[in-house]
């Protein structure tokens, strides 16, 4: 049951609200009532609430200022399954059951997981119309009539824009409200037209790519039906864009102008016309231009007592003012509001009005009782989306605003965003933009191109806008500007602004950062141009103006507009890419076995790889030690399926590999494999791996797990762009083969049981050879003798769909030998003991094969990518870093990877605390570091300046504010003579 509470400020009739549908909700625990079609702000005002949350830093009392997205004060948090903060009350639709808290300028992020769904839509459209005021609706209607695909975006939940505030207006002979409904019905009936209300285009990018946020369904009530998203991000490819984003009104800064009861005149108009709410009974309308006069008339018609304070001199011609005087309104020309008094509730109870001279200096002030001050400081076109595309803007002194100089390519400007501040002008520009945009997509009749000045209403624009006095700030009755709030969200005053200019700042970008003006959640929608205006006055004699004219805001310039236009939740941007859907997870055929055997996984690119298999009571170190011992002393097996695999095929495949790898591939015999290193043209290591020669024209190449896609790209690039004459093709077969490494002195026995037809003897199956065979299970396999541990080892490759079966067969074949599964951590320890480098860990794009001590792999007789660089002076002269091993003197120590190495005597008196006075030259850094089961100590690999000539030296490793002595040694620490690989 709803019980509608008192709404003392609600008018009996009027408004675009549904009085048959009352809504009741809570604000700070108190009941607030309104109707469907209200915002939280309009319902609060209807109920007589004047004050909202205090300001963020100065705790100044605040009220509702605006009626749209520019609202700086009335920010709320709404409770839900996941609370949402920092919502302007002026944009949130009133709904039954809302639980609203008023914020003091700052929100609280709800730490609970948001259970709502968010999703993404990608669309192409001929004409995107942004804004559904008179210009946008007229454009959409014309474009739709041609049969073009049209998408209309309106951030509000109602269409109509400025027409909503003035229901008395007639459009094409019918009331505005009716006209909007007619156009909406037309658009919705057109098959190729989509009208998206509650949808804000928040980003505009190259190629007319737009990103918009749609708020769908009930935002805060019961969860939507499963599968229906709460919000949707639209990615729009638009052939043409019509920007009909309108304009925003500015305020004038005076003493205490941030007090509750001071509102934008246009907002007052909107509350009156759209919501049938009269926010005050005794109203001072303070204006610098004609646009506030219709507001004054509307207030009078609603029963308010109105005094108009017009900053323009009596001598300035203004038909709107003359008409107001003739209608009996009290008008005070050449005057300004210089301050306001607050009542017990801190809201306005009187305005101080004084005449001002040409410089803006006030005379004696008079106190005028008022519970509402409606301010108009002029209008600023909403050019954010235009500026995001680097569209040019200039200061129009007549319109007193920054206006677009001309549209961005592929776009049209229509309505008040282009400075057309009257409805008929908006309609005319909209129709024209809609027709032309459609025509340029091949719909409807074609048109000649037009210049900016030929656009409709261009000559009429200034006359229609009338004269605006560029009054930005009015001195108060007391000295100083500490009570003149410029940016209400950041609590920054004109005094703060003057402090910035006093500190010598001239650039608006510097001043923005010094003061933080314009950096709030509202991004300075209300304060931006006013700030520039005040700067114009403050810097009048300090910044050069255009020759022969006084300084204008155009000489100061605007700050940069960036997406998003209004705040967007991260949840919406993430869309469905959360949790398991965040990224694809690649698993190997034996994944389920790893899970069953308690593997701890690590992510390697998208792959899930077992890191180690802890047994009862084991930590990682214990498990890795056990796994290493099995590989060194018995037999162990590793899932190596993730290794990148590429088939290289074609008559010129040998020649191609010969050019790609630093070592030779022409003479590699069929049935044998070879380890190779590939480098970039600057000679740096790019990847490594073993290639098997399957046939004269066919190789099977392996690449580093995390680098496989890049290697394929690399091969294709060289093949296509430099050597298109070579007959060679590449196919990724990573997913086609499952690979198991069987490692250790007893691996031969396991392979013999697994593949009884295979001669596994040392003589019959040499190192770096492979055999195609059929396993005892009947499964065809390709078995290679390759080692990444230095031990006798085999790699068993089978078709992926046999991967799990063969893995299990290996486990069974080795069961009596206590065959042990091992993960990537043990793999790393084993390979590091042998100084096998990992590309990307022990190298970083600045390391040559020679730096790794691998001169033997660099051919001196053939040409290959990178070769020329090895004779560059940059590589032949001076000192290079070499890969060496480092042994901590404290054998139990495991150095952190990344630890810096320095000369012991380079420290001076530096103790490791805070920062050294002078930089300490570094010798290099630790690239890999582990505890070695075989050596019984910690060890690492490091890139060290001139490292091979420092073997035997002791240096210091610096990490975590401490130093440790480490001995530099030869890279290979285990089985230096390589005796173990043949078993």
């Amino acid at each position: 049951m709803t019980s509608t509470g008192p709404q003392p400020h609600r008018l009996e009739t009027g408004g675009v609200i549904d009085r048959s549908r009352p809504v009741d909700f809570l604000v700070e625990g108190a009941a607030v009532s309104g109707y469907a079609g209200d915002t939280i702000a309009s319902a609060l005002l209807a109920g007589g609430r004047r004050r909202v949350g205090d300001s963020i830093y100065l705790s100044r009392p605040r009220g509702i200022v605006a009626a749209g997205v520019e609202e700086p004060n009335a920010l709320v948090r709404i409770r839900g399954e996941c609370d949402e903060s920092m919502l302007p009350a002026t944009t949130v639709e009133a709904a039954d059951g809302l639980d609203v808290s008023l914020l003091s300028g700052i929100g609280v992020l709800d730490q609970r997981q948001d259970p709502a769904e968010y999703d993404t839509m990608n669309v192409h459209t001929d004409v995107a119309v942004i804004g559904a005021g008179p210009a946008g609706l007229a454009a959409a209607r014309e474009a739709a009539a041609t049969g073009a695909r049209v998408t209309v975006f309106e951030q509000d939940f109602e269409l109509g824009g400025s027409m909503l505030a003035d229901p008395t207006q007639h459009i094409e002979g019918v009331p505005a409200r009716e006209w909007v409904e007619v156009v909406r019905a037309e658009l919705e009936a057109a098959p190729e037209v989509t009208v998206l209300a509650r949808t804000t285009v928040f980003g505009s990018y190259d190629g007319n790519y737009l990103i918009a946020l749609e708020k769908r369904g009930d935002q805060f009530g019961a969860p939507a039906r499963p599968g229906v998203s709460r919000q949707r991000v639209w990615h729009v490819n638009a052939a043409r864009v019509v920007l009909a984003t309108g304009a925003m009104e500015r305020t004038v800064v005076f003493a205490d102008s941030d007090r509750p009861g001071v509102m934008l005149a246009s907002a007052v108009h909107t509350y009156l016309g759209r919501y049938a709410v009269l926010p005050g009974q005794a109203v001072v309308v303070f204006t610098t231009n004609d646009s506030a006069y219709p507001v004054a008339h509307a207030l009078v018609a609603a029963g308010a007592a109105v005094t108009v304070v017009d900053a323009r001199e009596r001598s300035v011609s203004s038909p709107a003012r003359d008409a107001a005087v003739a209608a009996g309104l009290s008008v005070r020309p050449g005057s300004a509001v210089v301050g306001v008094d607050g009542d017990a509730g801190e809201a306005v109870e009187a305005a101080w009005v004084a005449p001002i001279d040409a410089a803006g200096t006030p005379g004696d002030a008079e106190r005028v009782s008022a519970d509402l001050v409606a301010v108009s400081g002029g209008w600023s076109p909403t050019l954010h989306l235009h500026s995001q595309r680097q569209g040019s803007v200039h200061w129009d002194d007549q319109l007193a605003g920054f206006v677009p100089t001309g549209p961005v390519g592929g776009q049209f400007l229509a309505g008040s965003v282009a400075g057309a501040y009257w409805t008929e002008g908006c309609l005319e520009q909209g129709r024209r933009a809609g027709r032309r945009a459609a025509a340029e997509t091949g719909h409807g009749p074609a048109y000649e191109a037009e210049t900016a000045h030929e656009q409709p209403g261009q000559s009429e624009r200034a006359a229609r806008a009338g004269t605006t006095r560029q009054l930005w700030i009015v001195p108060g009755r007391a000295e100083g500007y500490a009570r003149h709030l410029v940016d209400l969200q950041r609590d920054q005053t004109a005094a703060d602004l003057l402090r910035a200019t006093g500190a010598g700042m001239r650039s608006v970008e510097h001043i923005k950062r010094y003061t933080s003006i314009g950096t709030g959640a509202d991004q300075g929608k209300l304060s931006g141009v006013t700030t520039i205006g005040i700067l114009t006055a403050a810097l009048a004699d300090q910044v050069p103006a255009a020759e022969g004219s006084p300084l204008t805001p155009g000489d100061i310039g605007t700050t940069t507009f960036r997406a998003p236009f209004t705040p967007v939740a991260f949840g919406a941007l993430a869309g469905r890419c959360r949790g398991d859907l965040f990224d694809a997870a690649r698993t190997t055929p034996a994944h389920s076995w790893h899970v069953e055997h308690g593997a701890v996984f690590e992510d390697v690119g998208q792959w899930k790889r077992p890191r180690y298999y802890p047994q009862e009571g084991e930590d990682m170190d214990a498990a890795v030690t056990r796994e290493c011992r099995a590989a060194r002393e018995g037999v162990a097996f590793l899932d190596a399926t993730t290794l990148g695999k590429i088939e290289v095929r074609g008559a010129d495949a040998p020649e191609f590999l010969n050019r790609i790898y630093t070592n030779g591939y022409l003479k590699l015999a069929v049935g044998k494999g070879r380890y190779g290193v590939m480098c970039t043209p600057d000679g740096m290591v790019f990847d490594d791996g073993v290639s098997l020669r399957l046939a004269p024209d066919r190789y099977f190449m392996t690449a580093t797990t995390g680098n496989a896609a890049k290697v394929l790209d690399w091969l294709e690039e060289w093949s296509q762009t430099e050597w298109p004459d070579l007959d060679v093709t590449f196919t990724s077969v990573t997913e086609q083969w499952a690979t198991t490494a069987v490692v250790g002195p007893r691996s031969r026995e396991v392979i013999a049981r697994l593949a009884p037809d295979l001669d596994v003897s040392k003589e019959g199956f040499g190192f770096m050879e492979f055999r195609d065979t059929v396993l005892a299970s009947g499964i065809p396999a390709r078995i290679c003798r390759i080692t990444f541990s230095g031990e006798l080892a085999y790699e068993v490759n089978v078709a992926t769909w046999y991967g799990l079966k063969v893995w299990e067969d290996i486990a069974e074949a080795g069961a009596d030998l206590d065959i042990t599964p091992y993960g990537t951590e043990a793999m790393h320890v084993l390979r590091a003991e042998k100084a096998y480098p990992i590309v990307g860990q022990d190298t970083d794009g600045t390391v040559t094969p020679q730096d790794l001590g691998m001169d033997w792999i660099v051919s001196t007789t053939k040409e290959f990518i990178g070769k020329r660089s090895y004779s560059r002076r940059a590589l032949t002269e001076g000192v290079r870093k070499h890969l060496v091993s480092v042994l901590p003197v404290d054998t139990s120590l495991r150095l952190p990877e990344g630890a810096q190495l320095v000369e012991p005597d380079a420290l001076g008196d530096y103790t490791g605390q805070s920062l050294p006075v002078r930089p300490i030259p570094m010798l290099g850094h630790v690239t890999s570091s582990y505890h070695s089961q075989a050596l019984g100590r910690g060890f690492g690999l490091a890139l060290v300046s001139d490292g091979r000539n420092r073997i035997g030296e002791t240096v210091l490793a610096s990490f975590g504010g401490r130093f440790a002595e480490v001995l530099i040694d030869e890279p290979v620490l285990y089985d230096k003579e390589g005796a173990r690989r043949d078993g």
């Binding site: 190259d206 390519g409 043209p681 294709e716 298109p724 020329r868 660089s869 560059r872």
Partner: protein
Amino acid sequence: MLTIDCPHCGPRPETEFGYGGQAHVAYPEDPSALTDEEWAGYLFYRDNPRGEFAERWVHSAGCRKWFNAVRDTRTYRISATYTSAGPVPAGIVRPRTDVPHPVSKGA
């Protein structure tokens, strides 16, 4: 986001493509014949014009073919795309890479 007209597949979103830097920079015929300066010119120096720029793109998530595009670096407008077999659009100057880049002189 740009819409890029792949010569093989037609217009596709930029996210399907990879970028490959300046076009028409051929790998030198005989690197060993180049001086260090000339080789460094090939390795490290590329043009960075304000205006039309011929550059390489690859349709990574499509046909995986490399092609060239002429893009205006001021507006990001792509005026032409063409394959290595196709004619080079008028006005595109192929830089020579077997001579030192001007910037590298005296370095």
